[in-house]
Symmetry: C2
Amino acid sequence: MEMSHLRKVDPVKHEQKRGEILGAAIRCFIRDGFRGASTTDICTEAGISPGHLYHYFPSKVAIIEAMIDLGLARSTEKFEKILAAPDVIEALLVDIEETSLRFRPAQILNLDGLAEAARNPEFAEIIERHTRAVRRMWSDFLRQAQDRGRVDPGLDPDATANILIALIDGSRAMPIRNPKLDIKQSVEHLRTMLVRFLNPPDAQSVAIKPRIQKAGRPLKLVRKR
Amino acid sequence: MEMSHLRKVDPVKHEQKRGEILGAAIRCFIRDGFRGASTTDICTEAGISPGHLYHYFPSKVAIIEAMIDLGLARSTEKFEKILAAPDVIEALLVDIEETSLRFRPAQILNLDGLAEAARNPEFAEIIERHTRAVRRMWSDFLRQAQDRGRVDPGLDPDATANILIALIDGSRAMPIRNPKLDIKQSVEHLRTMLVRFLNPPDAQSVAIKPRIQKAGRPLKLVRKR
DNA sequence: TGATTATTAGAGCGATCTCTCTAATAAGCT
DNA sequence: AGCTTATTAGAGAGATCGCTCTAATAATCA
């Protein structure tokens, strides 16, 4: 049978609409969690009908998966930028300050994702793969820094990377546990801890300056320019 | 009107049964989360009927609140023990190893609780109050350790306590992110980081011993006996 | 024992969940 | 224009949710 009067789908528009719906879904999931947000909520937020939603996503979990993919891709991109900065530790601290210590609702999804990964093996696989990638990035950086004498060569790069990742995870809980957190002071102490931890033991000792801190800031780990 | 044929409730049995139901509920919440676990699930796990459940708890949120109360009380108790140990850092590391790094399903509830606190102001209040109590315990300890010259006096006790709490939170994510985590190595690096962070800057530098580590362990923070 | 009440079981109500289905409309082709 | 298909709307099916209600049973008193 010959088909003639065809009408093609516009893939650009379709993808754009999909992105809008995904954005609306993310807002709902931030507000109410994976289980708390209903497909009806998502449709209302996106301004579409229930039936229409399923032209873009086959199921609710497909939406969640798409969101996780997007979030992890952004996370990887972020770490790439941090590790490409001239001063990696400072770049990391800036990121922690802006996205973790200052309460950003989107950070809740990381907690949800970890909790879900602890229950759902499929989610766990995704989280583990992403963690492997990020750990690899950090341990590569640490190895280079060790070669240049900037980081204690006695530290295992993988184990150290795991601890840095744990620190980032933990910092996300800080503004939830303490809404009146002193952000500058927290960053200052995090910097002290990181520098003292990573610096070679024979390097000059790093003092924190609790009062005045214009000159004599802690040692920085500077990348080759 | 005179009552004669009274039958009194046995408060001991009642409380015991309540505890059993709460235990069953906790198992369900660990398995499926606050929202994922239904009252029917809890009844099945506890071996009771739906109607019976509401003789012990007025609602599902009441069960969750009772669980949170229990969990936070245990947590406070745990920190009291850690802070009363002869070597606080070692006691903390033992606890982190046993309850966080070795995957304990119950730890998921901490993630759920933090996520819920970020959304629900009532939960947030509970978490914040508990955090204040724990932070107070740690900062008191840190102040004493500073007075005895064991901890860098330049560190702010409250800010340092917040970071220690964040580290505990972050360590809970480690076995989820990496199921094949090298626990001993992780503990060793955590120890190194903590000791280097807390030690006074003029103390002898602390080297990590990645190969052999029988003698020459890192400095310990020893409590007055 | 008989009166009284605590305890238990389980049916099921109203609300809400995810997802499907039909039908009306908009848009691209010749 | 006229045909075909993509897009949209919305009702509602089927399952499950938290929770209530009635009634049967067990336990404790005089």
